[in-house]
């Protein structure tokens, strides 16, 4: 379920690493909008800039200074803000799901899920929390530490952590990369449900065409630019686009 409201927008986004002869252009003036409630997959060959684009959009990295550069989430201009302001914004508006799960190993599943709101100094909505935990099948595992959970369970905890605060956007970086097929499929379905039923906006970086097929839209990057956009993607259309991009 999508609507026409723009959740995330990027305009004239540049990112270069290194200087002089060793300079590498990761992003070459990207312009892209992401609608609220939309599930977008970002793909491309190695070095295409897909991870860099996600890092910059997620405020984990900063774009190069350019007079026309603009990065907005929920209408708030983020480019040029101080680190503390960006951090505060990220805390309140952005959720993350990582390939490596990145749960705090010394906290239980429950404590990991509640942590982002705790850092923000907010209390979780009890009903929403219980609902989420039930939907993600974590009710029996809340008191377990990550080392006591399977990969799929850990990723579901990460999804719960990302969804609990109802962020403006969730960034998922290869969320199925460390999972077996069954667990990966489960995770993708959950992300899909979050978009359909909760109106969550999700941006996912992946190299897996099967995973990309769960998205509403696929963006293919090459050499720091968007070279193709696929609406209602299938595995085959994604593969073809990737082949065309040289992945």
């Amino acid at each position: 379920m999508t609507n026409t409201k723009t959740a995330v927008s990027a305009h004239k986004v540049y990112k270069t690493y290194g200087a002089g002869d060793a300079a590498v252009t990761a992003l070459a003036g990207i312009n892209v909008d992401f609608s609220a409630g939309e599930f977008t997959a970002i793909m491309g060959p190695s070095g295409s800039g897909k991870s860099t684009l996600m890092h910059v959009l997620a405020t984990l990295d900063t774009a190069d200074d350019h007079p026309e550069t603009s990065i907005r989430i929920d209408g708030v201009e983020l480019h040029g803000l101080a680190d503390a302001e960006v951090t505060d914004f990220r805390r309140d508006h952005v959720g993350f799901i990582f390939q490596a799960f990145n749960l705090i190993p010394t906290l239980t599943a429950e404590q990991n899920i509640l942590l982002p709101l705790g850092i923000a100094g907010k209390q979780a909505d009890e009903r929403w929390y219980q609902d989420l935990v039930r939907k993600l099948g974590l009710a029996e595992r809340l008191n377990h530490k990550p080392s006591e959970l399977s990969g799929g369970q850990q990723q579901r905890v990460a999804i719960a952590r990302a969804l609990l605060a109802r962020p403006s956007v969730i960034f998922a970086d290869e969320p199925t990369g460390n999972l077996d097929t069954a667990s990966g499929t489960e995770v993708l379905k959950l992300i899909r449900e979050a978009c359909d039923q909760l109106g969550q906006t999700v941006l996912m970086v992946t190299h897996d065409p099967v995973a990309a097929a769960y998205a509403d839209r696929v963006l293919v990057l090459k050499d720091g630019q968007i070279v193709e956009e696929i609406r209602r993607p299938s595995r085959e259309t994604v593969l073809a686009a990737l082949a065309k991009a040289g992945a």
């Binding site: 990295d61 010394t106 982002p116 209390q123």
Partner: protein, 863 residues
Amino acid sequence: MKTSTLKTVAHSHVTSQRKKFVLTSISIGVAAFFLAAVFLLTQTLTASFRAASEPLYSRADYVVNAPGSGLMLSAQQGSADQSATLTQQQVDALKNSSEVDIVGTRSLTYLGFTTDKTSSSESMRAEALPDSPDSFTYDFEGALPTNKNQVAIPSTMADKLGLSLGDSISVEGPAGQAADTENQAFTVSAVYSVDTTLSPDSMTFYFEPQVLDSLIPAAQNNSAELSNYEEVSVKLKDAAAGFPEDLKDKLSSGSADTQPVIVSSSEQVDLYVKQLSMGLDVLTYVLLTFAGIALVVATFVIANTFRVLTTLRVSELAMLRTLGAQRRQLTTMLLREALALGFFSSLVGVVLAFILAALAQLFVPRGIVIGFSPIAALVGIGVGILVTVASSLVPAVKAMKVSPLSALSTAQRAESEPAVSRPTMTAGALLLVAGAGLYVFAVVADRPFLVLIATFVLAIGALLLFPLLLWLLLKVLQRIARGSTVTLALNQAVNSMQRTASTGVIVFLSATLISGVLMGHSTGVASNAKMSETAYPVALNSPVFEEESEKGQHLEWSQIQQKEEELEGIDHVSSASLAAPAGVITEGFPEDQGQGPEVFAVDPEKISQTIAGLDQELTENTVLLPVAFDSSLDGKTVVISAGQHRVEATARVSEVGFYAPLISKNTAQPLLESADTQTTGYSAMVNTEPGLTSVEAQTVLEEVASATGADESKIFGGINDKLRNEQVMKIIVGVMLGLLSLATIIALIGVANTLSLSAFQRRRENAMLRSIGLSAKKLARLVALESLLIAAVSVICGIAAGIGLAMLGVQVLAVDGIDIVYAVNPFALLVVAVFGTGLAYLASLLPAKKASRVSPVTALAIS
């Protein structure tokens, strides 16, 4: 609804990572234990002093003090005139006052006494019983003296001398002086309870008041009006009204120097406690210095633990940043963990100190009161927390620099930081330069305290720069190393200099401290030996022929020569000269200097060989006077007499300080043949070869004592001085090494901790080595070898630094005018090198074994 915050993360870390924190906790706990123990000890002594002093004044309201009493002088409340006692008029005014209920006095009278139970004379303070038996504040067995032949003694003296009721003592007269009265015999009629030798009454014997006067010669009193009382305790009929003003007026002497000091009984106890505690400050400072050293070593251990753990948690910290934690929140979280660790670890240390103190109460002598002061707990825990938080500050601040992007990198971050950061290197270099400059100034300007400060500054500079030196030395070893395992171990060490430096600094610091103390000790012994040789004219001066002398026999010179030859036959004795009593200077000696001194006859040739540096030849018809005599006597004619026999001689004053005037045996012949010459007081002067060891010196002393038949305690000279000082130095160095052993234990814990954390940090590296074919056994050997190499280089550098710093530090004695003889004890330093390296190696074995157990597959898997 539950919450989960950064506090939750901090708490979960401290509890979940207990094993990683165990060794660090022990370091903090040991340091906190020692600190608390120091304060418990000082509080115990203070409490014991108070318990010892309070009974004295338990029935008094006020105490009137003589301005010149020791207590008033130490409290800086009295007069500078030490002879200012209370006058008899003042004491009588108190006794006769209608406002005073009871008066108790304390005198200044010290007397010698003997008993059947002891062979030598003992000292006591003689005191008159209070007028009223009610004001005798102690419990006692028997009955208080009721006649002039009875005495009440304290239980401390009864226990010490084995005295009991009915035993007798014989009072000799004022201690240290010949008695003017005949020895007086007293029977012990009462033994009163004194809990501890700390009590001022632990050697007070109570007599009937009239008896005291007969024991004190009239000549001892400066004035007929002066009493011998240094304080009078007063119980008032109406204490609530305060000390009566009219009585104060009566006590007023009109002179500031003799004005009595009136204080309340509680103030008096405070003054006593303060006086008894005066030496305590020095003890406290020394113990706190060693506690400080232990804390410094603990600081390195804690700092390293947090550095490693923070490095291991970069991903987690980055994750927290992605979830919206601000930089300062991460720093606060880490400091919170440090606070929790510091609190619980030091709490355990402090509790242990209190438990041991409670157990000690069961074994300490009666009268020692264990002072369970809350200050000990507060200091132990407070300092433990402070040190832990301060040590974790740098890693905590570094955590602020963690970027959220780090959460997304799954590659192991290589340690890229150099062994020594630029600021640390700069600080170290600046301290070395500043320390060197200050040192030169201090030596030139004769400022001993500045010498110590400069040495300390140089030591800190060296410590800061040591990791750089370690890196350089390991690089040199890398170039010359042969063998794949050694080369690989050195590569590992050089490529991870932060980890290497963490282990190395702790070993270096410990080796520096211990070898510095040992170097200081060996230099002290050598300097003392030289000082003893030069400060004394002879190595030993012993009474001789005491048995023969007692028979009243006059000795032939041949007997004297025989004894000289016997003494010269002792190993390491270079020469011996016997001195025979010849007579006394009766004419020619200035009258204002009192009676002329006794003169001794010697063989001139022998004496010039025996007295080191004798500047003048002892010629015939000359009496040689030591340097202590007035130089105006030089050249004067004096007469030496023994009964009716007289000999004239010319006085010569020497620059050397030998013990008595000397005359040639030939010149003294008429006196020696005289029946009036006294036959007691023969002495043997013995000189030895230079540079004797303590064992050789002790042997010479024993053999001289055996040859002369004298008790060793009656023999004096350079050797005694040397042996006595060496004994003191041995005790001091033993205590210092004992106290340093605490820091060494913490250091060993630190090494084990560093290696353990390092093994965890390097599990991927180790797994890689396993995966390319290194067996578990070889991997363990590699890790242990790496530790051995680091420890060996660090110990050797530490020994060199310890020697150097000690050599600089002992200059404080040279500034004081003492000749320094530098000496190294190679055996002791070898022991430090072997043990230091060995212990550090042993500390690495378990971590090495754990490191080798890592499964290549598990460790290489992306977690």
